[in-house]
Structures are given as C-alpha cells and as structure tokens.
C-alpha cells in the first residue's frame, strides 16, 4: 500500500469526508435502515467499513464475524493481506483482482466475476481511487476507471438497482489526459449553449462564459463540474438520473507540492417515466437540473478541508474515533508496550 494511502486511512480530514459526505449520502439511500450491499475500493484499515458498521449502516454479524453484504477489491497482495488483518471479521466478498479489469473482461476471471455479479445490485458504491481517474499517461481512449464505471452502472441496471449512492474520489491537481479534458470541455460548452439554465448559473457562479475560461481560472472547479457532467452522462446512458450531487475538497497543503483530492458523491435514481415525457430533450433537461444545482454549490456550498487550517480541529473531533477504529481487528486484543524513549532512566 502506498504511503499516501496509509496516511489517508487515519487522516482526520478524510474522516470528515467519510462522515460529512459519504455517510450523509448513504443515509439518503437507506434512511433508518442499513446497506444491504456495499462495494468499496478501500485502503486498509478499511475505515469506511468499520465506521459504517459502528453507525449501523453496515450489519456486522458477530456469530459469523461477517460484514454482511460488503464487497471489497484490491489487486495488491500486501494490501489484500492488510485489509484482511485490519477488520473485525471477514467481508462478504474480498476480491484480489483489479476490479476495473474484472468488470471490463469478466471472461478472464469467470469465478471471480460470478462471485461479484451475484452481489449486485449495490446500495452504495465507493470508488475511492484517491489517484487520477484519467491520468495523462493513459494511452487508451478511455481510462480503465471510467470504463469500469460504465460497466458497473450497466450491471447495477441489469440487476434492477433503483436507487444508490455513488462516491468517486480523484486527485484534481494531477494532469489529466488531454482527450478527456477536451471531452468534458466540449460537454460543458455544449451545455452552456443548449441549456439556458445551466449557462446562466455557470456565468453567475464562475464569472465566465466558457469551459476554457473556467479551466484557466479554476482548474479544480472545471474538473469538478466536468466530471459531474461526465458521470451524469454515463448514468443517463443506463436510464439513471442524479437526484442529488455534492463534493468535498480535501487539500493537503502542509507539505509542497499541494495535493487536491476531489470527493464527489451522487444520489442516483431510476426516474419514473411519465407518458408525457417522450422527447429525449426533456429527459436531458431533467438530467441536467441537478448539475445546475451542483454548479450553484460552487459559490460557497462545497466544503473545502485544508490540512493547514483544519487538521487540528478535525483531529480533536475525530482523533479518538480514528485511533479506535484503526486498531480494531479480529486479533486477540493485546496492549502495546510503552515506547522505550518514554521510559524513565
């Protein structure tokens, strides 16, 4: 596991995202109930699973020592072992495979694909990639992350998912593939021209009138809107719409270079299709309405958590919980000896 993942796992800033964004969106799906199926691409010590289990959003069966309905995946053998080690029991399904490859070419992994497909549909999908979802080094027309996203939504659709939370994380400070940037640029510009509501809100919020101008002035915001639009389009292709959308920025600015992590959360629903709604343009407008609202949130509605200014406050708020959850595992509990330096001479 990369050092950055280690840090993120027990970082109070990330914990704030788990609670303020992810938990909020999951609760909109399950209400007072719990997740029946949860797909997570995790970093050990699987803080999201343990946190949601503590909050009753995931059922932990103490008799079977099982996190019911939780599916995880990794292709790094060490991370797999660490994930297994850092849980209080077993996940319902833990795959040692690159899930992007599995979704893209299931025939290469017939047994694992079958095991995964049996778990669909998910009430919440957490694609916590933490890196670029379409890095400039990607040579293909579409990155494997986004390709897998499409395959995943397709599976959700085939399994009859009606409502689910979708969380996507990506670094926004990294360089993205030019083709992808051009694609989302075109989407935004087309939207400005064809959807007056979107264009007006765009101009009001970002004080500019084109995607190019926004990309030059605020690349992060350009990516945020562009990615939301891209995800909306993927969802729309499978008959879903975004009912609600939000984001959190996690900015690691204590050490140079500054790293920006964009956490997007979507509430996805399959809309009822009224008889009157027959024109594709109407469906498109409905699909865009939440994106317009999301653009509006960029004024002051998107939380931006900074390491330099918020770490101390959030550590005080979440530190004890993080310490407890991160050390919780299935092993017989043993106390840690005091560090040698602290001992009296």
């Amino acid at each position: 596991m990369a050092a950055v993942d280690d840090k993120m796992a027990v970082c109070p800033l990330k914990h704030e995202v788990r609670i303020a964004l992810w938990e909020k969106y999951i609760r909109t799906v399950v209400g007072a109930g719990h997740l029946k199926r949860y797909l997570t691409l995790y970093s050990p010590p699987l803080m999201d699973v343990k946190l949601f289990a503590e909050k009753g959003l995931i059922v932990f069966d103490p008799e079977k020592q099982l996190y019911v309905g939780v599916v995880g995946a990794t292709y790094d053998a060490k991370a797999y072992a660490a994930a297994q080690d850092t849980l209080g029991g077993r996940l319902d399904l833990l795959l040692d495979v690159n899930i992007n490859h599995l979704l893209d070419k299931p025939s290469k992994y017939p047994v694992k694909a079958k095991q995964l497909y049996e778990k669909f549909p998910f009430d919440a999908v957490n694609l916590d990639y933490t890196n670029s979802i379409f890095h400039e080094s990607t040579k293909e027309d579409i990155s494997e992350h986004l390709g897998a996203l499409d395959a995943l939504i397709n599976r959700q659709n085939a399994a009859g998912a009606k409502k689910f939370a979708l969380m996507i994380t990506t670094r926004s400070d990294l360089k993205f593939a030019e083709a992808f940037l051009a694609d989302i640029n075109a989407r935004i510009d087309a939207n400005i021209k064809t959807t007056p509501g979107f264009g007006d809100e765009f101009a009001r919020v970002f004080k500019c009138e084109s995607a190019d101008a926004l990309a030059a002035a605020a690349h992060g915001k350009f990516l945020s809107v562009g990615l939301a639009k891209f995800v909306a389009a993927v969802l729309g292709d499978h008959g879903y719409r975004i009912s609600s959308c939000d984001a959190h920025w996690l900015i690691r600015d204590a050490v140079k270079p500054v790293r920006e992590l964009l956490h997007l959360a979507f509430l996805v629903e399959r809309p009822p299709v009224p008889r009157a709604l027959k024109k594709p343009t109407d469906a498109g407008r409905r699909l865009e309405s939440e994106i317009v609202k999301f653009v509006g949130k960029h004024v002051d509605g998107i939380a931006s958590i900074k390491e330099t200014s918020d770490f101390k406050i959030l550590y005080e708020r979440h530190g004890a919980e993080i310490a407890r959850l991160s050390t919780l595992n299935f092993e017989v509990a043993t106390p840690e000896p005091e560090p040698e330096a602290d001992r009296p001479a």
Binding site: K64, Y80, K112
Partner: protein
Amino acid sequence: MVSARILRHVSRGIYRTPAAALKELVSNAYDASSSEVSISTGYPSFEKMAVTDNGDGMTRKDFSRLVQHIGLSSKSAGDLITIPGATQQRRVLGHYGIGLLAVGQLAGQMRVTSKKKGEIVGFIATLDFDQFERKLIEGVERAIIRDEAELEKEDAERPRKAISSAKPADGSEDKKFPIGNCKIKDAKFNEKDRAAHFTKIELTQIRPEVKDKLAGKLRDRNEIAKKKQRYFAQFDDILELIRDSEGDVRQGQYPYERLCWELAVYCPLIYPAVGLFSAKKSLQAFSDIAGGYSFSLVVDGMKLRKPFDKSFFVAGGSVNKVWSWLSETYSKNGTDHKVSAYLIHKGRIRPKSMQGVLIRESGVAVGLYDTTYMEYPFNEGHKFNQLSGEIFAEGLSGALNIDRNSFNETDDRYLSLSSWLHEKLQKEVFPAIKKLQKLPGSSKREANKQAIASMIIALGRLIKNKITRAQFRSAGKREPLFEVSDRILYINSDHPDGKGSSAKQEKVLLAAAAIIAGHLSADKVEKLLAQIEEAKEK
C-alpha cells in the same frame, strides 16, 4: 542439552504441513490456559504471520529458560489446568517449547511479546533461526537453508563464542540458543494494562517454500485451476469446498483453505449446532465436552469450529447408525484412563478426509483422521470408509511423538487405547453394520424389489390381465421363482433370481411378463430359468 545438530534436523522436517506447525503454536497457547487464539496468516502474500493468545503469558525468565532448553516446560504433560468459565478441565499436552521448532520450519525470524497478569513489565524477544540465511537469488532476496558443514563448524566454536552473562546498558541480553540467536529485552506496559495477559508471536522472513505452498503455486501453474480461485467468506464455504472439490484440494489447489480446515480439525473448538450435535440429539454430549474447553480460534477474521455442517449428515445418504461411549475407561498397567468416543455410520462419508477415526488428547487432535482405526487387524473392506468418529482420550500425552501429531505406536498407552477401540469395533460396530445391511429396506436390493413389483402391476394393468398385485415372499431356496394365486403373482425372495439384484432385474421382469401375458406358466418359467443357468455353467 540436546545437540544443536539434532534440533536443527528436527526443526527442518518435524511437521508435514504448515497447518501442523501452526497447530503447534496453538497447542502451546492451549497449554497456557488461553480461551482465545487468533492467527493472522498474511494471506495471500504470507509475508508475515502472527499467533496471539490470551493465555497466562510468560516472564522474561521463563522464556529465556525455554529457548535454551527446548522441550523443557514448566508444566508437565498430563497436568490438569482449570480455565475460568470453562466446565471442562484441560490436560497439559506438554513438550512446551517444541513450538519453537515449528516456527523454525515456517520462518527465519520470530518476535515474541508476552506479559503475565498483574505485571506491568513483560518482554520482547527476537529470535533468528540460524539455519537460514538471506541470499539474493535472481535479484530477489530469499531465505535459504545454510550449509550443514558450515553450521556444524559454528557449533564446534560455540563455547568460545559464548556470550557473557553481563547485560548491556539497555537491559537487553543476547543468547545463543540451540538453533539460533535470541535477543530479549524488557517491555514496560501502561499501569492500566496490568491485568492484561497474553503472548503474541510474530513470524517474519517466512520461508519461500512455505509461502509458495500456501499461496498455491501448483494452482498458479495450472491456468484452469487458477481461474477457479475464489473467495470464501465463512468457514461453511470452506467446508462446502472440501466436500465438493476434495480432489482439487488434495491436489494442492486450495492450500490456504486446506490449512483452515486442518486447523479446525486439530483444535479443540466447539461443534456447530447442526445434525447430531445439536441440542437433544445423540451426540450433544460431545458438543458439551468440546464446548466445555472454552476455546476459540479465529484465522484471518474467520471463526473456526469443528468441520461439520448440515450437509455432512445428509450428503451421500443419511446417518444409518451412531455409536457413542461416554466416560468409559481403558486400562494401562492397572491404571484406568477415561475415554469417550463416537462413531457415525453412513453409506458415504464426505469429505473422504473425514473417513476414519480422529484421536484427541485433551481435546486436541493428534494427526488427522486415521483410516486404519489404530491398525485394526481385520479387513472390513468398504465398511472402513463408511465410518467417521472421534475419540476423546486421556493419558495419552506420554505416547505422543515429538511432533505431537502422531503416536509412538509401541507405547503401552497407545496399545491399550487401540485394544479398547478394536474391541468396540469387533464386538459392536461391524456386527451391527452387517445386520444393518441385511435389514429390509437397508439395501438397494430392497428398492429393486419394490421397483419390480410396481412394474409387474403396471404391466398387468397394461395388458388387462387378472393379476393386479405382485408380492415378494420367502418360500425357500428350492421353491420356484413364481407362484400365481388368484390375482397375486408371488415372487420367491429366497430364489437366486428373486433377491432383488440389479443384474437380474430385467430377467425377472421378462419372465413375469411372459406369465402375465399368458405365454408361459410359472412352472415352465422355472424350467427355462434352470436351463439358462445350466447353459451358463456349460
């Protein structure tokens, strides 16, 4: 002191499987009065392993003594120990310290952290097993076994290299123990942890051979098998795999799952509340015995229990008969020892690995299921494969070999127990099975008879014959096969062709059809059958 050379050899090849070596560490935890043990295997990379227990723990002095005197334990084999909250007393298995040899087989380095209840100072010990060395092979650092001649030369120099008993300033001490080096130092714990007691054994530098074996390298070379690899969330899933894909498991395609299964067989775990082990069923008493040891084992988050599930009792036919013997005695040189045992008889025992008898000393299994039934001296053919059982014996610890996984088969105690078992098998079990196989409805022949009778009735209706019933009855060996009386066709079940044999089913049906259709009389059929037999002999 045993020579280092001998211990080195022993440590290299003492255990057949990694599970057996890990079981050794679990057995140590069991002897140390643990009620909970967890094993982290590091699956699927197996870079490091850890065995943690909530047993009595050790002092630095205890451990120091242990590493220098392998096999010398502060507890004697057979001693009774009482666990708070447990209803069943344990008997110490003994040979504490052999676990160190087990570790030598698995890993190049071991770290032990332990603390006793009521103390705030425990210890941390790091042991390097010096029969291994790290070498770069094709760019990868690997642990390989060192040259024996080189090690022996070191042994010869050992007295000169003996480390001074004076401790360094930090209070740590270095000790050369028979198969490696050991560094021990105090570990101070927080006052709030005074009541804690535990031992944690962490293994690193896992031997490449062990990693390869557990990671299923055999499977990885086989593309089809590799594709079949899947995740098992619960122990029940592993039981299903072992039962349904036993061939693949035996071929080494699921070594990790096999490891979990073997540990579940070995350890004194509880039985699941299924089949005959559930409440008010015939083997509940054994469930109570195992539950009484108050011992649990978790492997990589998976809670293990005895390897039984519902399917064990129904797959391959239902249970025909169960024998159980509770708190009986077997004698050795006038001393009585307690033994409890059960045997289950089924048409087919699945998985096959559970055919035979498993011997438990103080709840811990010694080896796996024994299909020789402790060298039973008579050949009972396939009946051996139709039995599965466990023997909970006492007083056998002295008969255990050094691996605690097999018996010295010439030991008096072992021989006394085997006599006890053989008597049960010879006088109770096998005669009862023979009777079972003769009972009506117990064999396939009975089913064949029912099928023949049904078909004859159907045939009678089809050709509108007056015969509306067919019935098997015992009329004597020399009497004809068929007799017609009013509307009933009697079939002589004592006749060589009337016993319901599958091979003769068609012949009987054809002859019956000839009688029903009015082509032949019963007497004529009998003559024809006799002529057929005569022709066959010629």
